[in-house]
């Protein structure tokens, strides 16, 4: 313990003032660098984006104030609705990662030899970059020679180019995204299962609870913290989905796999995109959608904080 640290000479007034006030000032000194960076790079840009969304700006020349025009245009833009629809599909289907992760976690929550290695290998996809995941699945889905195509052909379903077919493309990308996301949820649940109180399980067993009832009434309630985090990271993951779309389809075919985050990038910075204001408006909409969820999370966290005190 470092309590033996010398307090030092106390004769100076200045130092006395510091001593008297240091507990009030210290937190702000500790916070300053982090808060400064966070304000500069995260908080201000949010408002700046909102501001830019009222301009017509190609990112290189002068910007012109156009008021609500970007938003008016947005609500009359087919591509926007396609993106929005895909975002909803992403949100809904991505949620499958939560129960799927739980199932795998239950499957793996055993003490046989080598189980630790199995757990690591199941978790593996999460560690890989989404770029690599995208390339792996692009290969998996490739028409003519992809593994999946071969399997489907073997089942007599013919040659389907998943990533070039507007009916399947979004689902194909989501499946690729689920792969690492399920791994993430699995690891959350494995940790959660480790901490389920054994007494309650025993008690329930004595009451004759069968596996499924036990899972539903005893285990899942105890896994609530893990579920909360799994849901939060899955929602965020679904709304941020960008990498896989960029790598696997670039939004195609003819824009049918776009989501808002991708459409925003496309409008503002891609090869043919010069519309910073319009892109910012899309981002603001995405932000508002996310705000619904963020408010929910924060609400819960505030309640938890109150509960602690």
């Amino acid at each position: 313990m470092a309590t033996s640290v010398a307090v030092g000479d106390t004769s100076q007034v200045k130092k006395n003032w510091w001593k008297a006030n240091q507990r009030r000032l210290a937190p702000w000194i500790f916070l300053a660098p982090g808060v400064f960076m966070f304000l500069l790079y995260v908080i201000f840009p949010i408002f700046e984006s909102m501001w830019i969304s009222f301009y017509d700006w190609d990112g290189i020349g002068d910007a012109t104030w156009i008021g609500w025009d970007n938003y008016i245009e947005l609500f009359d833009d087919d591509a926007f609705y396609v993106s929005l629809k895909n975002n909803v599909i992403w949100l809904v289907l991505y949620m499958l990662a939560v129960p799927a992760g739980l199932l795998i976690a239950i499957f793996l929550n055993q003490n046989v030899t080598g189980i630790r290695l199995y757990k690591s290998l199941f978790f593996f996809p999460f560690v890989i970059s989404q770029v690599v995941v995208g390339l792996i699945f692009a290969w998996f889905y490739a028409p003519n020679f992809g593994l999946l195509t071969k399997i489907l052909a073997g089942l007599g379903l013919g040659d389907i180019a998943i990533l070039a077919d507007e009916r399947f493309v979004t689902y194909g990308i989501i499946a690729a995204g689920l792969w690492p996301q399920i791994a993430y949820c699995m690891i959350l649940y494995l940790t959660g299962l480790n901490n389920v109180s054994p007494d309650q399980i025993e008690a329930a067993r004595l009451d004759g609870a069968k596996s499924w009832r036990m899972l539903w009434y005893v285990i899942i309630p105890q896994l609530r913290p893990a579920t909360f985090i799994a849901v939060v990271v899955t929602i965020i993951g679904a709304l941020r989905s960008f990498d896989l779309i960029s790598i696997m389809t670039d939004g195609g075919p003819y824009g049918s796999s776009r989501v808002l985050s991708f459409y925003m990038y496309e409008q503002a910075l891609s090869e043919y995109g010069f519309r910073m204001g319009y892109g910012a408006a899309i981002a603001v909409i995405l932000f508002l959608i996310m705000m619904l969820f963020i408010t929910g999370f924060i609400w819960k966290m505030i309640n938890d904080e109150r509960g602690v005190r």
Binding site: P143, D159, Y272
Partner: protein
């Protein structure tokens, strides 16, 4: 290893130049020449220029070809080189309008380029000024398998009916008549350009890509009707939306497809993959509306001086050098493309010879859909073309959507 070293060398160049150490008498060139032939051509030009101007140093930064298209706007504003490679036509408009390209009319005047680079003068002019120097262009047209045509007894079609008949014959023989990969969208632009140029002619095509005519015009619908005559019977390869243009090359090489509407840059990889000049042929896109003068797509590549360049004086020397007849002969011999300077020699090559003859007799030259149309329209347009090639029954809905976007893009 070579490529890796080049990357490192250019990285060092960028870093030293970011550090502000650009000396007087140094010009920095940003280029998208990541493919082998263009890269070599670029290096040769620079070597030649250094010989002619020993007092000027040249630094070359090579970017990935596709990545360059998005990088350019950043470096033009942030840390501009002295020379940037780009494309003619509307593709340069955003930078000209934003004042990011330097007016180089004086280079044209001093070297009487209006004479020697006449064919590309119009596509380099905006607001009555010249904004860059063109150094190469290439033809588009139909590359086809001569041996398959001979086997099936098909003559290269000259008219639309002959073309349809040829497609039908090839399809019956169990092959795909036309190879294409539309994943990157732009290959669809070639089809639209040619169909529109042949159905409605050059003037209408330029009015349309210039945003002056609605996409819901009956003449545009007529283009889609012709196009549907190819899409509906399945004359294009299957799953083209999953393929890049390079992915479609093996189909031609393996004889699974017989024709490919593409630029002359496809010849090199086709030869490399084993097609001989006895197997590969080139033909002009057939006539559709009789009597309409034949115009062609011939995209032009250019070099520009960014407005924020540090050494404009030497950069202008470089552009003047680049415009010389002998220099353009040499670059294009390496590139396997056509020189813009009309005093230059056309490289000795069957396909370039054919292309040169075709373009010399052309009524007019269009750049390409994504260079003639403004960026927003180009993207939406080619997306619409791709959708049409998958779902031809949506033609009307697609055209209405394009019209909506035209209304916005040309306010």
């Amino acid at each position: 290893m070579k490529r890796y070293l080049a990357g490192t060398a250019s990285a060092l160049a960028v870093m030293s130049w970011l550090a502000g150490s650009a000396l007087a008498g140094t010009i920095v060139i940003n280029a998208d020449t990541s493919d082998p032939a263009p890269k070599q051509a670029m290096e040769e030009v620079i070597a030649g220029f250094k010989e002619a101007h020993p007092d000027v140093e040249v630094e070359l930064n090579i970017f990935d070809h596709e990545g360059y298209k998005t990088s350019i706007r950043n470096f033009l504003t942030a840390d501009a080189p002295d020379i940037a490679l780009w494309y003619a036509g509307n593709r340069m408009a955003p930078y000209v309008n934003a004042g990011l390209f330097e007016d180089v009319s004086d280079v044209w005047a001093d070297n009487s380029l209006d004479e020697t680079l006449k064919s590309a003068a119009a596509s380099m002019t905006m607001d009555g000024k010249k904004w860059g120097v063109p150094y190469t262009y290439y033809q588009w047209g139909i590359y086809y398998r001569k041996d398959i045509f001979a086997e099936l007894g098909i003559e290269p079609p000259k008219t639309w009916d002959e073309f349809l008949a040829a497609c039908a014959t090839i399809k019956e023989a169990g092959k795909a008549p036309i190879a294409i990969g539309t994943k990157a969208l732009w290959p669809t632009g070639g089809w639209f350009d040619y169909l529109n140029l042949r159905v409605n002619g050059y003037e209408f095509h330029m009015e349309l890509t210039g945003g002056e005519v609605p996409y819901t015009d009956d003449r545009v619908k007529a283009v889609f009707e012709r196009w549907a005559e190819l899409v509906e019977p399945g004359y294009f390869v299957q799953n083209h939306a999953a393929l890049d243009w390079q992915d479609a090359l093996p189909l031609l090489v393996q004889g699974e497809a017989a024709m490919y509407l593409i630029g002359n840059f496809a010849v090199a990889p086709l030869r490399e993959a084993g097609l001989t000049d006895d197997q590969l042929g080139f033909m002009q896109f057939p006539e559709i509306t009789p009597g309409i003068p034949m115009a062609e797509d011939a995209p032009t590549d250019t070099m520009h001086i960014p407005a924020n360049a540090k050494n404009k004086e030497d950069a202008k020397k470089f552009l003047a050098y680049l415009a010389q007849a002998d220099v353009q002969s040499k670059i294009n011999a390496t590139l396997g493309q056509l020189p813009v300077n009309n005093q230059s020699d056309v490289p000795e090559d069957a396909f370039l010879g054919a292309g040169f003859d075709m373009l010399s007799n052309a009524y007019a030259l269009a750049q390409f859909y994504d260079r003639d149309a403004v960026a927003e329209m180009a993207k939406a347009g080619m997306e619409g073309f791709q959708e049409f090639m998958v779902k031809p029954d949506r033609a009307d809905a697609i055209l209405e959507r394009l019209e909506k976007i035209r209304g916005r893009a040309h306010k």
